[in-house]
Amino acid sequence: MLGVDLYLLWRAGRRELPALAGVYERAAADLEGVRHDDAEWCALRRSLVSVLAGAARQATEAAEAVCAAAGEYARADAAARAEFERLRGADGRLPQAGAR
């Protein structure tokens, strides 16, 4: 994976997705804060608050999963590099026959 791809993925998990979750959390809280005594209006408001809170949860869960995935990819890349360097040898020569 290219470093820039990994960075953009990491940034989506650290910034864009949490920001989206924040937008939804604020919208749900703002809507819940609107007080009205009309039953039908309140019923529709409850439905939308539930949708918005659900979207916030999804975005938060995705952010965590994306961060975990980005960390995993970075570790895999680092491990691949270390393995590559070990196989290549410190001086860049081919390892002796029999090395794994």
Binding site: L8, E16, A39, W41, Q58, A65, A69
Partner: protein
Amino acid sequence: MTYELLMAHAAEIQRLASEVAMVGLRGDAGRQAAVEREFADVPDAFRALTGFPDPGRFDAMADGVTSVLRGLSTGDGGDPAVPADPELARFLGTAGALRVWTGPAADRFRTGFLEPWPALVRNQYAIAAVLRSALRAQQEIWARARQDADRIAEQAIGALGACGDCTRTEWSVTFTVVASVAAVAAVPLGGAAALAVGGVAAVAQVVAATGPAEPPQTAFSADDPVEVVERVREAIGLLRGHIRERRDAVAAALATTGRLMDDRPEWFGWR
């Protein structure tokens, strides 16, 4: 007009009706008492109209929903007062960054949220727009109901003043409340928002589309104060009926929208 003024009008109607009806009774205490009884219910008839909510209190509620709309706006909702939320605009550009994320969790998020999200957020916006439009419709109902109540009282005072003329007194009341819901601007959904999946935008127009655009005029006529006051009672009854119809229309639009959310949760990202 304030409720105090409306009740002052009611007292004036009661006083004027009694005064006109007593002309010619020449101190007949029994008949005078009967006249007073005839009009004794006038203040109570108007008092039933003083419990209307203050239309001004809907402003804060509508402002609260506007702030929700701003948060959910992708900028194409057709309302210049609700520009795109910058965080949403930024999120729209992240789909590319997430393409390198693979696995079952990534697939679930991609198909269940990321890909349909542009349509989901517009539908969520549409529901919030319905909520705000309903508030504006309710506000308009109560504002016009107050005006109509005032007109009923003022016309009755005028009619009582004309009693005793040789001709039958005629007047009309325009029940502006009937056109109150239609008068509220349509839920502002234009451009791309109108293309959101499943016709949610069409439902969003329901609140604004109910009821006639032109308020009906109802003609009244009377020969004497008793008839004038009877017409006033009738007009108050009509007004209350019209208010009920309009409130029911808004409630029905809200219920229709709610049923849509229940029936098609996937249009809203509701799991």
